[in-house]
Amino acid sequence: MLEIKNLHCELEEDSEVKILNGLSLTVNPGEVHAIMGPNGSGKSTLSYVLSGRDGYEVTEGSATLEGADLLDMEPEERAAAGLFLAFQYPVEIPGVGNMTFLRTAVNAQRKARGMEELSAGEFLKLVRAKAKELQIDPDMLKRPVNVGFSGGEKKRNEILQMAMLEPKMCILDETDSGLDVDAMKLVSDGVNALRDAERSFLVITHYQRLLNHIKPDVVHIMSEGRIIKTGGPELALEVEENGYGDLLAEAQA
């Protein structure tokens, strides 16, 4: 599904700042991978580079989604190819209604994939059903995108978008940040409902607790822009227990 090989990247405006230093990773269809690591290890940058944000210069390596070169695509083309990034800090867009936004996005992707646009009625029915599953208040759909939403509402709104867009490869960037226990459960349930044999997830997180809800197949530890260790779910428990110190020392040795 997602294949990242020896990815190097630096800041566009300062080539001295190297953020990814030879990162390699393969996520197969249906798998859930978690990336953990200390602050500043490059986790969020990885999600931005994969989704196409400006400001980063890839100097070496490749990233492909089902064989297609992601790095060569515009952000909207990556989305049409099936990539989805759930933001750590979902962006507020005053003046754009959440419903308008969702409908524009869904229809843009359908168009890009050569499908017919959903009628207003079909769309409404679909969005209401999905929103209900995520316990999203209908009022939230009428408000401008993310404006005045609580932390939990913003994250649920991200998952709602994911559910509506039905991507193949979902990247969740610290989706657990700013969530209380109940909200985390709700968001995780939303994610788990989307798990299937054809859809893969890359879950970026600081803490193991999210992984109690979204059970990963593979856990990677990231430091200084590289994967320094890969293992099963037990690796996350080890981090929870002992912190990153030992793993980092081990990697440097």
Binding site: E74, A79, G95, A105, A108
Partner: protein, 432 residues
């Protein structure tokens, strides 16, 4: 710098040269007096120049020149005019002249309508207290000689007295078929106590226009004013709205401006009675040789009134936007709630926004705020939309419309707001 006395002498000379010998239109006694007084004001004040503080951002030369510059007519390619889908009482002006043939009968329950020419020959008591009167009051604290010029020479316009709640909006449509020529149009509106009306204006008017609307809104009355200035690009013009509000009266005035090489819209509002409310808003899109100026003066002259000014401009390719807005709160106007925002979205580095927000407050228990910003499209919002599969152009369009939305929200009727939003969207799409 030119000494004040010399500047003033030149302004007066220019006025003398332009209208000193120009005869006033034939009128009944009351209107002749109003015209003569306005004519004397013009000669006394002189014509505006860019050296006037009040015109520092906008050069009025094209508005004061003896001849209007001709300009090409825009090919609408069959696009229906704005408000076309709505049931309304249509009053058509062609090249600034009332076109009775093209208009509906000037009859509707709850309203009396007469063309200016008719009113000038009759003795309309209610209009006597408004025509030229509000304009004259509007010469303080700043001189507006172009409005006086209008009072002196306007032969066209509608006198509208609203006594009830007419079921349809009154739609003033300004068609234009001549590439050159001036239009001077002067409307007088009286909304009687408790009455409510919607007045629509649209169309390119003329190569050069000078419009005045004097509105007297009595106690508890409501005036909705929605104006769309669009179509032909090569136009210059100025429009003044003078409005006086009684106790608990409401005014909502919204203007959409697209195209026009030099447009200055002035609004002068007096909140004379307690608990009145005045909202003045504008959404402007400018591309290329476009200069648009919104100049607003709101005087809180009574307690507990509310006023809002919301102006949004989207500019690019050398387009210039100007906003001058002042809130004056008199000492008696306690518990005033005044809000003013002017914002420009500059789509490239050639566009320019010039703003001069002012507050002058003499009461001690008031709430007034003002803000003015200019900026570009928010990169993180754009990226967020694109990650959801929305193509860059469409995402930008969505964000530009979102920027304008706060101004459109000032229109009470959702149908009109949607219509204008659709126009803006079409304009933005056409321009790419």
């Amino acid at each position: 710098m030119m000494p004040r006395a010399k500047l003033k002498a030149r302004k007066v000379e220019a006025a003398e040269a332009l209208v000193g010998a120009r005869p006033l239109p034939e009128s009944n006694v009351w209107m002749r007096r109003a015209r003569e007084a306005a004519h004397a004001r013009v000669l006394d004040m002189g014509l505006p120049t860019k050296r006037d503080e009040y015109w520092r951002f906008t050069d009025p030369r094209r508005l004061t020149a003896a001849e209007a510059e001709a300009g090409k007519l825009h090919d609408t390619q069959g696009e229906a005019p704005v408000f076309d889908a709505f049931d309304r009482l249509k009053i058509v002006f062609t090249n600034g002249v009332f076109d009775a043939e093209a208009s509906d009968a000037l009859e509707m329950d709850g309203v009396e309508i007469a063309p200016l020419a008719e009113a000038a020959a009759a003795d309309l008591h209610w209009a006597r207290d408004i025509y030229g009167v509000l304009e004259q009051r509007g010469q303080n604290p700043v001189e507006r000689p172009l409005a006086s010029l209008n009072t002196a020479y306007a032969r066209e316009g509608m006198f509208i007295r609203v006594t009830g709640n007419p079921e349809r909006p009154i739609s003033l449509i300004y068609n234009r078929s001549a590439e050159d020529g001036d239009a001077i149009v002067h409307h007088v509106i009286r909304v009687e106590a408790g009455a409510e009306v919607t007045i629509l204006e649209n169309g390119p008017v003329a190569a050069r226009f000078n419009q005045v609307m004097e509105a007297d809104i009595a106690e508890g009355a409501t005036l909705h004013h929605i104006r769309a200035q669009g179509r032909d690009h090569e136009r210059a013009g100025t429009a003044h709205l003078f409005a006086r509000l009684g106790a608990e009266a409401q005014l909502k005035s919204f203007t959409l401006t697209a195209n026009g090489s030099l447009i200055r819209n002035e609004a002068v509002i007096w909140l004379d009675g307690a608990d009145g409310s005045a909202h003045i808003a504008g959404a402007t899109v400018g591309d290329g040789a476009f200069h648009h100026d919104d100049t607003v003066f709101i005087n809180h002259a009574a307690p507990r009134c509310e006023s809002r000014q919301v102006f949004k401009k989207v500019l690019r390719h050398g387009a210039v936007g100007v906003f001058q807005g002042k809130i004056l709160v008199d000492q008696v106007a306690q518990l005033t709630d005044g809000y003013q925002i002017s914002q420009a979205l500059l789509l490239d580095e050639d566009a320019q926004f010039l703003a001069k927000p002012e507050l002058e407050i003499y009461a001690d228990d008031v709430q007034c705020s003002h803000g003015s910003t200019s900026g570009e499209i928010d990169k993180s919002q754009l990226f967020y939309l694109r990650t959801r599969g929305v193509a860059e152009d469409e995402a930008k369009l969505l964000l530009v419309l979102a920027f304008l939305a706060e101004a459109l929200e000032e229109i009470a009727d959702q149908g009109f707001a949607d219509d204008l939003r659709d126009r803006l969207e079409a304009w933005l799409k056409r321009r790419g």
